[in-house]
Subunit: 448 residues, 2 copies
Amino acid sequence: MPDMTAATSPLLTDLYELNMVQAYLDQGEAREAVFEFFVRRLPPRRGFLLAAGLETALSFLKHARFTKEEINWLAGTGRFKKNLLDFLADFQFTGDVHAMPEGTVFFPHEPILRITAPLPQAQLVESRLINILHFQCLIASKAARMVLAADGRSLSDFGLRSAHGAEAGMLASRAAYIAGFNGAANVLAGQEFGIPIVGTMAHSFVQVHGDEMKAFEAFARSRPDNVVLLIDTYDTEAGARKVVELAPKLNKDGIALRGVRIDSGDLVAMSKKVRGILDAGGLKDVVILVSGGIDEDVIRKFIAAGAPIDGYGIGANLTTSQDAPTLDCAYKLQEYGGAPRRKLSEGKQTWPGRKQVWRSYDKNDRMNGDTLSVETDEPTGDPLIAQVMKAGHRIGATPRLDEIRANARRNLAQLPEPLRRLEAAEYPVTVAEPLKILAQQADKAARG
Amino acid sequence: MPDMTAATSPLLTDLYELNMVQAYLDQGEAREAVFEFFVRRLPPRRGFLLAAGLETALSFLKHARFTKEEINWLAGTGRFKKNLLDFLADFQFTGDVHAMPEGTVFFPHEPILRITAPLPQAQLVESRLINILHFQCLIASKAARMVLAADGRSLSDFGLRSAHGAEAGMLASRAAYIAGFNGAANVLAGQEFGIPIVGTMAHSFVQVHGDEMKAFEAFARSRPDNVVLLIDTYDTEAGARKVVELAPKLNKDGIALRGVRIDSGDLVAMSKKVRGILDAGGLKDVVILVSGGIDEDVIRKFIAAGAPIDGYGIGANLTTSQDAPTLDCAYKLQEYGGAPRRKLSEGKQTWPGRKQVWRSYDKNDRMNGDTLSVETDEPTGDPLIAQVMKAGHRIGATPRLDEIRANARRNLAQLPEPLRRLEAAEYPVTVAEPLKILAQQADKAARG
């Protein structure tokens, strides 16, 4: 069974892609085209980005096929000629892909994916490729900030409900897990990606029982393996005292409480009071989890204030990347029929050609600079881009999600210290001379 | 064939829903529960909200079924007992739904959807219902601001690529169209929802040809019915002059240019220069479309500056609601087994019971105040909430998208003038006495 993303119709594209493919087919323009995907600039409050979404993108490229019904619908619009409909009916991606592995730290203008394919194919896949890569890079980059801020404390994705639709909920769980989150509340993300799923109870559970004590006991007896009780429905301190009162009774039946969750109020002050109540009641091993309005700044503030919080559930701030909900992404033609290309639109120039990024490290294995150049240039460090698809087939094994996550962990550990501290530090990306020369050639050709 | 949303697995939920349903089944807690969905507060820069997503939500409720594979996977996790697995295997929503029609203007604390169902059912559907309603209300509310700002000018959704995944791209197109957008670039939104699809060309099309004139002519001959040429790849004024030069040649072959698009630079200054060039060249009927960083503020600024722009293509600002990418939504238990309920968590109190919203209008048919009360209260205006589903079946016909759009248009026309002007005006929502009394009763019961 293909995954949710791969099952999505390739009609999920912009009309202009079909317009252009129609014209290319009419003109017989099907020479080899090279497009690269990159981010133009860092959004506010981001010092680096984390690559994610490649395997989803490759799955899309592998599975994208138009059904007979879709072709019939397109024909019925009266907008397209037979040559386009035939092309789409037979479509299957046969190009090459070069990319940075998921979990790699990257910076503006560094391509994280390159498509090399006959022009109509490379153009057709644009909209959905951007849609897939943009979102997961966005979320992984946001999640990485929380992971760095949390400094080993547990982080869970609670953001399905505020994610922008079904796929956003799924791919946010995936991207956050790659960046180092510990789990997600999203059950389908557990099934589809094998992400550890986590969950407690809602306020409605307590309200149904009216009596908190009854609600806590009923929950513990039904979910004895992982009892986390939500204690703030009415009065948080009173809730904590009920937990202390209930614990021995449950212990007698072999049920150990794992934690409590607080979702409202002054979480620093309340977590200290609750910790005091639990400790005094002999529940030193019961953890305190919090949720509600958490982001990397809140986590750092709470840690600095000495809040005894063991884990954070994060919703909208994670799954919508609320402070910066988009990246300025581009999928640009860099070469066509062997010649470099770039556009000159005001403020939107790009670097032409097939590029590589080399990264160098200092003696402590910390990143100390990238070089962006044409891929045939002399290496000045470790290359970040490698071929991952050849003639439509993946090269090598698809990495497991835990391997991708380990790569992200290594990458985050190698960040320069100011970027690890989430400071507004500039990372040096040098554009090498051969690339500048290629850009001049492309401009000269374009200006005629 | 069910639509994309309905085809999504009901495993797309939070684990805590399954935890709670497990406990409810163990306890035999299956009395009638009433949950309402509402927004707690307006985000920054929003004076009103526009309801959207109801038909998508009803489609979800109608189609939600667990497959055998999903039940087997749940069983394999070892987390759930047979009674829950059996319940899920047989699950089908058999409750009632009351709601505001899509396209209705609403305000914080006014419920736009009410679920009345046996408790385990009403709880199980929570996460996905919020996921669906939150996003479409978010986008419709943002789009409505652009529609008001554009004052009749054409608006197109160009935001698939920056939308958060596939479903976000689809449902953003739907919500924007409801709010009054004229079309979307998203082809699948054309197929699934019947939204008019629009599209021009990308810069890559010009770059492929190297020569702008060749590119323009090739495009016009392949897409003769709707020729919109992108003129800013190299030099926008030169591009406009090429359009003037090309037009007579195309005219001879019966091809009329419809418009030009500008995607970069100073769009006010450039649109004036381009208008001048086109007019001087006898192309007074050729429209000017712009894209790139457009939102409601930009539209109003451009109009105030007298920019001769006929239509706007809007991307990330629309499909991510970039300035406010979330609404603070809640789906709360308001009644259980006939008794009103609400939670008392600090700062998160809600209004209990089954509620209605009555809206009154002034002599010019402009909204002049809402009353929020229990549904059995005396009417003080037009009721906004009506029953739309009974025992799992929709009541009456599903409204067509153009009917929903017409409802939104009426609602936006009835807004008080300051809200139509997007000013930070407060709209009066009065909480009626019977609802306050019910809240006191609920609190008294909860405090014991």
